[in-house]
Symmetry: C3
Subunit: 405 residues, 3 copies
């Protein structure tokens, strides 16, 4: 390979950066990204930052959803303070009115007969709703590609539950790598070995399960295994990463609920899906959906208190650590580890064999960025197209016959 070709490769250190004109940023702009939820978008405009762009999200008085540039094109005031009325959002300062497509509808200070308003069109991005999530497309294509239909969001079977949106103050990639890293479960999230949860004995610190990293059309999955209760069976924990930045795990109830091992025969019935949207290089937002397809009508009502039980222990007076107390709560444990990592490319690393999932994930993203840069389709869109627009992501927890990947 010539030096020229090599120098064109996407460097690992570029992955964290998502602004317009960056390699990862331009790649993200070829995908629909979650920018809000139906529930949380109420009667006032929301300022949102997506891939470093300052935008305003609002639902107009006819129920249409708009995503426009945050600053009014007239004199630059923030539309976050705008009034939602008369078929659009009205700048608070001089009343310019924009519809969800960015078209200016009125300028109260200007003579109406001059028709200035119709000549002004503000930056706008298309938004679509799916299963309670609001997806936007920030690309500059003349026409946005179809929004993939994510099975847990569009399925009419089972029960669906959205968690409250969470903002994280560190780089998106520090979080996303976690999805291809099953080993940290046995260490960081190690539980009392006698607490009766799947997590406590399957992800045992003293007996870390074997795992494989497997490439999939939508991205990849990591499969952790231990010998099953009978010959020819195995305990399996399967988690997926889907392009561009989606994680799906299947063990939510086994992680949090105490239950006999026999219950595992039926497998987990809950897919726990996390959509990651970078706000900028230093923060991201997490949109989480649970899709339960088992027989228990009270499932979500039972799961909620078990999460609350995991309250972190009290903090000692001499403990000045920013993220403490963190032990005992899976989410704060992850935050303490990931938020203290520096940016990829700025931290020192010494990877080992157990990082093979992480390494595969990095290569997957890098090669997709490279392929898109050379004019190709994003793999996530190709995968959706080849399944009629439907995206199905694997996750599994429980007992099954060996060799059933």
């Amino acid at each position: 390979m010539s030096v020229t070709k090599r120098s064109k490769k996407v460097p690992l250190a570029d992955l964290p950066y998502v602004g317009r004109g960056t390699l990862a940023g331009d790649w993200f702009r070829r995908h629909w990204l979650v920018v809000g939820t139906s529930n949380e978008l109420r009667d006032i405009p929301q300022a949102v930052k997506v891939l470093g762009e300052e935008l305003v999200l609002f639902r107009d008085d006819q129920g249409r959803i708009g995503l426009l540039g945050l600053y009014c094109p007239h004199r630059g005031t923030s539309l976050e303070y705008g009034d939602i009325e008369d078929g659009g959002i009205r700048c608070p300062y001089h009343g310019w009115l924009f519809d969800v497509d960015g078209q200016c509808l009125a300028m109260p200070g200007e003579p109406a007969e001059r028709g200035f308003a119709e000549k002004v069109r503000h930056l706008s991005y298309p938004v679509q709703e799916q299963g309670g999530l609001l997806f936007a497309y920030l690309g500059s294509d003349a026409e946005a590609p179809p929004l993939p239909r994510y099975l847990p969001l569009v399925s009419e079977q089972g029960q669906r539950s959205l968690e409250a949106t969470r903002l994280y103050n560190y780089n998106w990639f520090n979080f996303i790598e976690n999805g291809a890293d099953p080993v940290h479960f046995s260490i960081l999230h190690r539980a009392d070995p006698n607490d009766g949860t799947w997590r406590s004995w399957f992800f045992d610190f003293r007996d870390v399960p074997q795992f494989d990293a497997v490439e999939m059309p939508y991205g990849m999955k990591v499969i952790s295994r231990k010998p099953g209760p009978t010959v020819g069976t195995e305990y399996v924990d399967e988690k997926s990463f889907a392009l561009p930045a989606i994680l799906q795990i299947g063990d939510t109830e086994f992680t949090h609920l105490r239950q006999p091992r026999e219950a595992l025969a039926a497998g987990s019935h809950n897919a726990h899906l996390m959509f990651v949207t970078p706000n900028d290089d230093a923060s991201f937002t997490l949109y989480t959906v649970n899709h339960y397809t088992g027989p228990d009508n009270e499932f979500f009502a039972k799961l909620a208190p078990s999460r609350r039980v995991q309250a972190p222990m009290e903090k000692m007076p001499y403990d000045r650590r920013e993220f403490s107390p963190f032990r005992g709560n899976v989410r704060t444990e992850d935050i303490a580890c990931q938020a203290t990592q520096k940016l990829l490319g700025e931290r020192c690393e010494q990877l080992a064999t157990s990082d093979r999932g992480v390494i595969m994930l990095r290569k997957l993203i890098l090669s997709d960025i490279e392929s898109v840069r050379r004019g190709g389709q994003p793999r996530a869109l190709e995968n959706a197209q080849s399944h009629g627009g439907l995206v199905k992501i694997d996750s599994f927890t429980g007992v099954r016959a060996k060799g059933l990947d």
Copy 2:
């Protein structure tokens, strides 16, 4: 016009910057600026930032007011912690004592017979008091020009009331432009059309008044008009901008007090004068004087509660906007709009015909900066000189015969 000449013009994007050596900063340094108030300057030194310079303002034990460099010339300790005693301000660290002219009077650690003290003179700027405001001159001229006498500050008629000094955390120019922009009154400050205030029906959102922008010797004024109650009369609202950074409006009581339209026949009797002093490129201080010349001896006592009534409504729990709640209070409405604008030159703009006041204001300042740079006198000083030092600024609210500009 040659390219050379054109390139010498003051660019609009330079207007926000006020540090020493900037075009706007050097122009401001040719004017007296308000740096404090008599009432608020007590028995301790005040650190003040003016045009990016760190200074200390104090009143010595003989009542003289000094404005010196903030850092002691000896070893750099802040004189904000100094002691006011023995005819000056004494550095807390080693006791060097400076009078209001910056002259060092004593060095307690040095042998007095050597006379070191008399050789040291610290940076100082002249300060003058007028109507309760403290004006300073930060220019480097051998002698400061005379302080203009502002009519509302020096008049012996009527009643005068100073408001508490207010600090704003955005660029001075975003605020000052408001003074040449009558349209925002009908939009941003639109009131319930039935609330009985002048503001509610004169600055009606659905029937925005016509306005003219008129250049004046002291700067400019904008005159908004609507047909009056009888033939040959008109309702008028007149506001002024005076160089370098002063606004005057005349409608204070009609904005805030409910009263019958008949009351307007007498016109407003209150001039509401705002002196803007840039602290640096990101903040400014507002010194506000009301000068009432009407017959009501209780005028200020009545106005105060009407301002308090405008308390903003409650904030919804999901409303995370920095400046919210802002609706219903003219001042917080202005802040929400102006603080979210980026710096002039960094924001995108699309000006329209209703910005003709703003455009005139920008040109006025730019051409005065240009003229001063070429060796001319600031127009504000020329204007004062030509009126024997007295500055009278127009403002009006009420009914009057047509054509009386």
Copy 3:
């Protein structure tokens, strides 16, 4: 002297900077520095910043103390959140375990038979305990020099008391200069002349004592004098600066306790020793030891309340000064003066004869940095070696025969 030689001199403006590769930073790295205290190091790791390096200090389950790089060499997570167990500190994320020498002992996710762990060694610095203080050596020498034995820390006579560790948010040098600057005592710390303390009449504002600055093998001392009670005697206050950044004063109890002048005949019996460790260019930590060798068994119990009595007065509502109230408490008085000084080299200065102590201190440090840069031994180590490793620093307060320096 040739221009070339001159340009090689260490500039004064370089003194404040302590990062790796700076002149002062590399010089500090040739000395043992205090990085913590035995009392305050408990069962959780402590993130510490020393000379700009981010490190983690911990005591392992066998009582050994380690100082390692803060970020795990595997994937960069902060070891501040690590678990102290199994003979070392374990990264919370993937469980890599390091002993106090930085040797990796285990990688739970890796096959043990491969022996990866033994090939990884993390950044570590040696730590030694002395008199309750934890000293570390951040140099890159193959072997650290012996830790000097500071008399007040190793003496088996008298009583020793460590104060709580204090963090200061300004440059280390602004503080250290204070130790060669006796004049500020008469100004900044001036007390009611009738309050009965040594400070009140010896360091009298209207009668500042004479002082000499004297170079010593360990650094320097400043000796302030006033005529004594009888012929041939004098009142003396002697304070020392020892390289690299240690201050010792002897007047603690006379500063704080009211007592008859006759008591001075016996001299002060308390050495008040302050070890300064720069955290970075903007902050330092102060470790303070009192060593009392007098006859009073209740000495420290009496001293503590006298310090508390010096509570600063109430703050006025209009007093917005960051460090106010500061008057009446020696420590906050120092902070107000030193924290507002800019960095040496960035502040303007006009030194006078009473700064001769400060000037000597600057020259001492600059010439030691210069000598170390040319390959020499730090003077502090040479001094310790020539006294069999023992460091004895002078301080005195009281009456003594003239000429006894």
